[in-house]
């Protein structure tokens, strides 16, 4: 609990107008599969906007990196002392953001449902809490990238605020309040309504979060 509270430096409230509200259900296996298959050929085949390729590939690199760190973690059930030296060599390449990591062979098990051995490896991997946390973060990034891709694919919507976060407010513990707005909002005729909506979200969002923290404290405080 203390660790969690130490990590919170700001409350961040963002508001977006969307075409449709879609539930973002986190299913680890599906997220693993979606990120595992990210590659240049896959992105090209899927018609993803080329400006986003490097950001999608970073997700794949981060997954590979998280797995390698688990292989080196003595507390993990995936720890393999025979692979330590090899993995350490790969780790230096995987830590770099350039494309050189794409040349090394993947250690991640392939998520193919009809291969029992491979699937049991994936299931074992998905029992690791550390990896689940990484997958959750990668999933959030992927959802944002997918949304951005939809905007870029549709030339008419590039200067539109739909499907992008148009306003974000960060209430920092050091007292600073940082507001960020999408450039497109300046061109909106109804920007006053949008700003009011965000202001309302900010005011209530902060109170809502505070109530959630009170609940956490009521459960965990020792």
């Amino acid at each position: 609990m203390n660790h969690l509270l130490e990590n919170i430096t700001a409350v961040e409230i963002s508001t977006a107008i969307v075409d449709e509200i879609v539930d973002e259900i986190f299913i680890p296996w599906e997220v693993y599969q979606a990120i595992y298959y990210l590659s240049r050929s896959h992105l090209s085949h899927s018609g993803v906007h080329p400006t986003l390729w490097s950001r999608y590939l970073q997700l794949r690199r981060q997954l590979e990196l998280a797995f390698c760190l688990l292989l080196l973690d003595t507390d993990s059930s995936l720890y393999n002392r025979h692979l330590v030296e090899e993995v350490k060599r790969d780790l230096t390449i995987l830590s770099q953001r350039n494309g050189s990591w794409e040349t090394i062979a993947t250690r991640l098990p392939e998520p193919i449902p009809d291969r029992r051995q491979s699937m049991s490896k994936v299931n074992k991997l998905l029992q690791e809490r550390q990896l689940i946390n990484v997958l959750q973060q990668l999933n959030k990034q992927k959802i944002a990238l997918d949304r951005r891709d939809r905007v870029l694919q549709n030339a008419d919507r590039q200067h539109n605020i739909i499907d992008t976060t148009y306003a974000q407010t960060s209430l920092q513990l050091n007292g600073k309040i940082v507001n960020r707005y999408s450039q497109a909002i300046l061109e909106c005729s109804d920007r006053q309504v949008l700003l009011q909506l965000h202001e309302q979200s900010t005011n209530t969002g902060e109170q809502q979060w505070r109530s959630l923290v009170k609940f956490m404290l009521s459960v965990i405080s020792r």
């Binding site: 700001a10 539930d23 959630l212 923290v213 609940f215």
Partner: protein
């Protein structure tokens, strides 16, 4: 500030509009959102309630289910470490509240507003495009949505009463008394040894009660609320949460 209670029928209708939605993943039900279903009448009622500054009292079933949903999404790794159960299947993610609106009885419910509140301080709001084009309705729905979310979240913290801790202490010392009686009647030792053992037992229990036994019991009950005995069914959740509030009172 004195808050007026809601008329029974309003409170019932509002409670009925709160749905905790789940789907089965790997044969386990996973709650993925809390949804509110508003129609023009309910929206008008909420505005009246807000105008008189009344408070919504969640039904005990809703409260237990909502607390359970929140508990499932808290980062409780520290408690699991106490028990050595690292491989729980719960995820800490954002609590999601979605408002659906039925414009007319013959029209389907459409998700128009969504708030995702992450325990780590990230809050995201999504508004459906159609709603944002109707400014008046947008204001009414967003105010009702935020009011209801806040009403729910302010009622989540577990409540304790002064006598809870006394009751837990009494139960604990009854347990110690039983242990001492067993030592006294079952162990074939001289009186002196029996007295020494009983005194040691009482001392040990007193020293370990708050720093060791209570945290372990809390971790155990929390584990059973998430994945064990108290994880299914509103009544079991209510029992688990009640035991947890008794233990919390001993902090």
């Amino acid at each position: 500030m004195n808050h007026q209670p809601l008329p029974q029928t309003f409170a019932q209708r509002l409670n009925e509009s709160i749905q905790i939605e789940s789907l089965k993943i790997n044969r386990r039900p996973i709650v993925y959102r809390v949804s509110f279903c508003f129609d023009p009448q309910l929206l008008a009622e909420i505005e009246q309630i807000k105008a008189i500054d009344a408070k919504l009292k969640l039904s005990s079933k809703n409260l237990a289910n909502l607390r359970h949903y929140a508990l499932k999404n808290l980062p409780l790794a520290a408690i699991y470490d106490d028990l050595g159960r690292h491989k729980s299947n719960h995820n800490n993610s954002a609590l999601t509240f979605t408002t659906q609106y039925i414009a007319a009885p013959d029209r389907p419910a459409i998700a128009v507003l969504r708030s995702a509140i992450d325990p780590e301080g990230k809050i995201s709001q999504q508004v459906r495009q159609d709603l944002y084009q109707d400014t008046l309705l947008l204001t009414r729905i967003s105010q009702a949505h935020h009011w209801l979310v806040l009403e729910i979240l302010t009622q989540l913290p577990l409540k304790t009463k002064a006598w809870y801790s006394s009751l837990v202490c009494v139960c604990f010392f009854i347990g110690v008394a039983i242990a001492c009686s067993l030592v006294w009647y079952l162990i074939p030792l001289t009186y002196l040894f029996k007295i020494v053992i009983c005194l040691c037992l009482i001392m040990l229990a007193k020293l370990s009660f708050k720093p060791f036994i209570i945290p372990k019991l809390k971790a155990g009950i929390t584990y059973h609320l998430l994945d064990g005995l108290f994880a299914k069914g509103s009544n079991k959740k209510k029992i688990g949460l009640k035991i947890l509030s008794f233990l919390i009172a001993c902090n």
